[in-house]
């Protein structure tokens, strides 16, 4: 079962905090949408609203076009994976996974069968009798996932499902979750504040900032064409320059600028001697660090702007000694994105963006 979910102008106030402000979101059936935002931006709150764990002040939540406002969490048929997994520590893995069926008063036999099937799906077949405490973090994570989809819910909600895992495992699980989600075909809304995670798993990513959606788009679009500086900076590193007619003017907002140019570090390369680029800036290398698959170069322009460039790990770094003055340029000007001022005002005015 899979259903479309619509969030319509939802407002939530918790104590003194206006946590969600006129939030709108349309999720198609079977789509994977990730809410990405800094801590405190209201992601978990929105998820709770969808699950029915949090009342809304105004606005509606529609499942399959039907208003579910009146439905208790028990009756919404959503599956949730919590950040801490929230496995029941006193129950076996099998009992954990089949808990939704226990709640639905299904017979023991069916419960056993579904638990076994779900555990098979998350590649934990045969572990039904173990206790959660005896599992590794990644295994617990998978149990939580199995439990969330055991009752065949219409919507799957994931609240920072990978936050407790270490990096290696996290990257593995991202691919894993995406794979399972595609197999089951369930509408999924996830929360994270890790952009790689959001990009890897999602069909679309919704950037949240202080209770508003700033931009909702496919990962490439978001990365390449951020609507404002906040999004640009939030999604990986970015070089931001004031710009007028395709000419860099130094820092954003400097005199005469008509917009802000966003150039990703991998698109801003030190130019070879004599090479020119339409868009370029001169800066002194201040820090070079090796990061495995790439080098990261930090340089400082005369006006104090910091310039960041990343280069593949097979690059020749001998020219880039700290202290050397280099010309950094964008070789493919089409990869430079210009944010025009009226767009960029979105951050300041906190105007909601409908999906």
């Amino acid at each position: 079962m899979t259903i479309p979910v619509t969030i319509d102008k939802v407002d939530v106030t918790l104590g003194p905090n206006h946590v969600l402000k006129q939030v709108c979101l349309d999720v198609k059936a079977g789509e994977f949408v990730t809410l990405l935002g800094a801590s405190g931006s209201g992601k978990s709150t929105l998820l709770n609203v969808i699950a029915g764990l949090q009342k809304v002040d105004t606005g509606h939540v529609l499942f399959n076009g039907e208003n579910v406002e009146k439905r208790a969490p028990q009756d919404r048929n959503v599956g949730v994976v919590f950040q801490s997994y929230a496995l029941f520590p006193h129950m076996t893995i099998g009992d954990n996974v089949s808990f939704p069926l226990l709640a639905a008063k299904r017979p023991v036999k069916e419960r056993k069968a579904v638990a076994a099937e779900m555990l098979e799906l998350v590649q934990l077949g045969g572990m039904a009798d173990r206790m959660p405490a005896s599992l590794s973090g990644g295994q617990r994570q998978r149990v939580a996932l199995a439990r969330a989809i055991a009752s065949n819910p219409g919507v799957l909600l994931l609240d920072e499902p990978m936050a407790a895992l270490d990096k290696q495992l996290r990257e593995h699980m991202q691919v894993e979750i995406k794979r399972i989600q595609e197999r089951v075909g369930i509408t999924t809304i996830a929360v994270t504040h890790d952009q790689t995670e959001a990009f890897t798993m999602s069909d679309r990513v919704a950037i949240m900032h202080q209770g508003c959606f700033v931009q909702i788009d496919a990962p490439q679009e978001l990365y390449r064409k951020p609507v404002n500086e906040y999004v640009a900076k939030f999604l990986g590193e970015a070089n931001l320059f004031g710009t007028a007619d395709g000419v860099l003017l130094g820092q954003p907002g400097t005199q005469g600028s008509q917009g802000t140019a966003v150039i990703r570090p991998e698109d801003l390369q030190p130019l070879h001697d004599g090479e020119t680029a339409r868009v370029s800036i001169e800066a002194t290398v201040s820090l070079v660090s090796f990061q495995g698959e790439r080098y990261r170069v930090e340089a400082r322009a005369a006006d104090g702007t910091t310039v960041i460039s990343t280069m593949p790990s097979n690059s020749d770094m001998s020219r880039l000694a700290v202290g050397s003055l280099m010309e950094f340029g964008c070789r493919q000007p089409e990869r430079m994105h210009v944010i025009v001022p009226q767009d960029s005002s979105a951050v300041v005015v906190e105007e909601p963006v409908a999906a």
Partner: protein, 274 residues
């Protein structure tokens, strides 16, 4: 994530205990009020005119303060001792605590009496060691009653202190040591701050409970240590003035509750305890 609340479950969880409180606490208090006003409310004036009562009131307060301070001090050290001692010793210390908790207070008081009377167990010990021939002048002095009262109250400080100690951040302790802190500074910067909330909430409880002391101070401290509870008992059991007794009881209940509420406001006692 905020826990979900539904009205039904709140109702089912909250109302049974509230009804229980109404019956088991509300009704008796109502009875006390009725009894106190049996003589038309004159009991309230009369009790303050009564020398023995006002003196006992003052005495009880002073006693409760002393017991509280002593218990907090000893309790903090005891809790620290349990935490810092080698495991066999801390097991013994905890066992002593439990043993004492499970011995009737009346019987324990008798035990103290047997120790402290002029030729009691203490005299026997000292005499056997050849330290004294003279009966010991300890029984029915202030020094004789405080240890017994502190012993009664000790668990109520030690238990929360133990919880606090087990929750001490080991990294903080390491940090203090690494940065060169001596024992004094470690105590001051890590241990005492971690202890303080539990110590205070334990202390408030001890204070409130100490206001109800009766037999122990009277027996071990002598008749000059008549407490409010003693005076109340007297009204009810001897002079046959239940209205006075009820009025005094109401005052005692009211005062303890008020003291508790103030302390709760200041130190968040019930949060520490619940």
């Amino acid at each position: 994530m905020k826990p979900t609340r539904t009205q039904t479950e709140k109702r089912w969880l909250l109302w049974p205990p509230i009804v229980f409180f109404a019956i088991a606490l509300g009704a008796p208090i109502a009875m006390l009020i009725i009894q106190a006003f049996e003589s038309g409310g004159s009991a309230f004036g009369e009790m303050f005119a009564m020398n023995a009562f006002t003196a006992a009131l003052l005495r009880t307060l002073v006693m409760a303060v002393i017991v509280t301070l002593l218990t907090m001090l000893v309790g903090a050290l005891y809790g620290l001792g349990i935490w810092a001692a080698p495991s066999w010793l801390s097991m013994v210390l905890v066992a002593f605590l439990m043993l004492s908790l499970w011995t009737s207070i009346v019987v324990r008081t008798v035990g103290w009496m047997l120790i402290e009377i002029p030729r009691g167990a203490l005299f026997w010990l000292l005499n056997t060691l050849g330290l004294t021939d003279e009966p010991i002048e300890l029984y029915q002095t202030a020094i004789a009653m405080y240890p017994a009262m502190v012993a009664v109250m000790l668990p109520f400080v030690v238990l929360p202190v133990m919880t606090a100690m087990s929750g001490i951040d080991k990294e903080q302790l390491n940090a203090a040591v690494i940065f060169g802190a001596g024992p004094t500074l470690v105590l001051r910067s890590v241990i005492l701050p971690a202890l303080k909330p539990s110590l205070i909430s334990g202390g408030v409880l001890v204070f409130v409970m100490s206001l109800g002391f009766y037999v122990t101070p009277l027996l071990l401290g002598g008749p000059s240590n008549l407490t409010v509870s003693g005076v109340i008992n007297l009204q009810i059991n001897t002079t046959n003035r239940p209205d006075l007794g009820a009025a005094m009881s109401l005052l005692l209940v009211g005062a303890t509750v008020v003291i508790y509420l103030i302390a709760d406001k200041l130190f968040k006692v019930s949060e520490k305890w619940g």
